[in-house]
């Protein structure tokens, strides 16, 4: 194994350790939920989804509605976590914090600041497997829906797109 690869492995290990050692949870990475907050063991939540693009800071999406390993929660259309998009747009990739199979995904946008009207969300990407799509310019709420494979469930994430 060459030096560069060895360093990469060490870096990933360090990053995993950073996460595993418990940086304080933020608003966008809620702790595992418990259906019974009075003593039931915590129930699992879907992985965190992180939106990345060249020249931008990775941003974890707000978790909306999901079903996951026999549990689930219903949320409305959310405002989303702010993301500054370059004036020329950008090719975004979204990565999940767990290696789950992705049966399908689709990304939609609607004008920011309110609930979308009937027929208003516009699809900007869809596929199976790796998640990548062009971020539009302007002020939008981005909804990403992911259907996990193997009957694990599904999850929806939101970001608020704005101009850089």
């Amino acid at each position: 194994m060459n030096v560069a690869r060895r360093l990469a492995v060490l870096a990933i290990g360090a990053l995993l350790a950073t996460v595993a050692c418990g940086a304080p949870p933020s608003k966008t990475s809620p702790p595992p939920a418990s259906i019974d907050a009075t003593g039931e063991p915590p129930l699992p939540q879907p992985p965190i989804a992180v939106l990345t693009f060249a020249g931008g800071e990775p941003v974890a999406g707000d978790l909306g509605t999901y079903t996951y390993r026999g549990t689930g929660s219903e949320a409305p259309w959310l405002p989303g976590e702010p993301v500054a998009v370059p004036p020329t747009g950008a090719l975004a990739q979204v990565f999940l914090s767990e290696p789950l199979p992705i049966a399908s995904w689709w990304a939609r946008v609607a004008p920011t600041g309110r609930q979308p009207r009937l027929g208003e969300p516009r699809e900007i990407g869809t596929g199976a497997g790796p998640i990548a799509f062009e971020l539009p310019t302007g002020a939008w709420t981005l909804e990403l829906s992911v259907q996990f494979g193997d009957g694990i469930g599904d999850a929806t994430y939101f970001w608020e797109l704005g101009q850089d």
Partner: protein, 348 residues
């Protein structure tokens, strides 16, 4: 989120993506389902209010309404839901119901097939996205969420369903109650109180039909198989009995529906002269005692015909039509005078 944590997450997810596998994308159709265990067919699940976290009366009414809606509209042998103060499943309401940061309502079926839990956030809860208004508790202003619809959605999840995959334009939203984004008043479907056809389709596949005469959801498109049996040969002037059998083709993808006999449908019988191009309908076959079986007796046959049974695709049901293979019934020549001109006795 701070910079190092974001980068850490990005690194983690890059690694995760590298080892994740891809499977084919889902398309519009029956709701996706969990991989977990089912409840027993028609299992009665009894639920209670969790002590100290009982919903207010209006919410109890809405939740019980949703349970009743699920029972009535499941059109399958899915589990049923009944309120019982001694029930093993529980439902709660309040501030600390554990539905996640943004959740209005949530559920767990991890204890299936024994029990489930369900939770509803309290009316007036302040989220980052706004204030929760349950219609049943606020006089139904625009922007409220219909709790009975929410409950029906959650009961659908408890059965086995995950969220319906809509068309991009959401034109099929009302095909399912088990939706990713619950609509608010006055959006179309916000107060749906029956399971949608694509919810029912998955319940039928997983739990089977209530009975063999029940209608298959139009969100399904099941192939059928129609067979016809009858005698190869009859004497001149005899009655000819036919029996047809209609079933759903037994495919793995159809799960519990595969191989089902299909009763109480319209099956017709047709005939033609041997080798003729056109068929003529003779009549409707009659439902027999055995499920999926139909009979017809052609009286006083004097001519050799080819016969077939036909099941035309029914309107308002998710079954395809089918036509049986041909049965040729030879009518022997007349041997006892007087015979008609066309069937003179062979006296050689």
């Amino acid at each position: 989120m701070n910079g190092p944590r974001r980068r850490a997450l990005a690194g983690t997810v890059l690694f995760a993506a590298a080892v994740a596998g891809a499977v084919p994308a889902a398309a519009h159709g029956p709701d996706p389902v969990f991989s977990g265990p089912l409840f027993a067919q028609n299992q009665e699940l009894r639920f209670r209010w969790k002590a100290g976290q009982e919903p207010p009366a209006a919410m109890q009414l809405a939740i019980n309404g949703g349970a009743g809606d699920a029972n009535i509209s499941r059109n399958s042998r899915a589990a049923t839901f009944t309120f019982d103060p001694a029930g093993t499943s529980w439902i709660n309401y309040g501030l600390d119901v554990g539905c996640g940061v943004n959740g209005l309502a949530c559920f767990s079926r991890v204890n299936a097939p024994t029990s489930f839990t369900m939770s509803f956030r309290e009316n007036g809860h302040r989220f980052d996205w706004g204030i929760l208004r349950w219609c049943e508790m606020t006089g139904r202003p625009d922007g409220c969420f219909d709790a009975r619809n929410s409950a029906l959605d959650e009961f659908g999840h408890v059965e086995i369903l995950t969220h319906h995959v809509n068309f991009a334009d959401q034109s099929d939203y009302t095909d399912a109650v088990v939706q990713t984004i619950q609509r608010v008043k006055p959006q179309d479907g916000y107060d749906a109180h029956v399971l949608g056809r694509c919810d029912v389709a998955s319940l039928q596949r997983k739990y089977d039909m209530p009975n063999m005469a029940s209608k298959y959801s139009t969100c399904l498109d099941l192939r059928t198989n129609l067979t016809l049996s009858g005698p190869d040969w009859v004497t001149y002037g005899a009655n000819v009995p036919f029996t047809a059998t209609l079933t759903v083709i037994d495919l793995d993808a159809y799960e519990r529906l595969g191989g089902n006999p299909v009763s109480a449908r319209t099956v017709t019988i047709q005939r033609r002269l041997p080798g003729a191009a056109t068929w003529s309908s003779v009549g409707a076959m009659v439902a027999a005692a055995a499920a999926g079986t139909y009979t017809f007796t052609a009286p006083s046959q004097t001519t050799t015909y080819e016969w077939r049974a036909v099941f035309s695709k029914p309107a308002g049901e998710g079954l395809r039509g089918d036509t049986s293979p041909i049965v040729s019934v030879t009518v022997s020549s007349c041997r006892t005078a007087p015979c008609p001109q066309s069937a003179q006795p062979d006296l050689r």
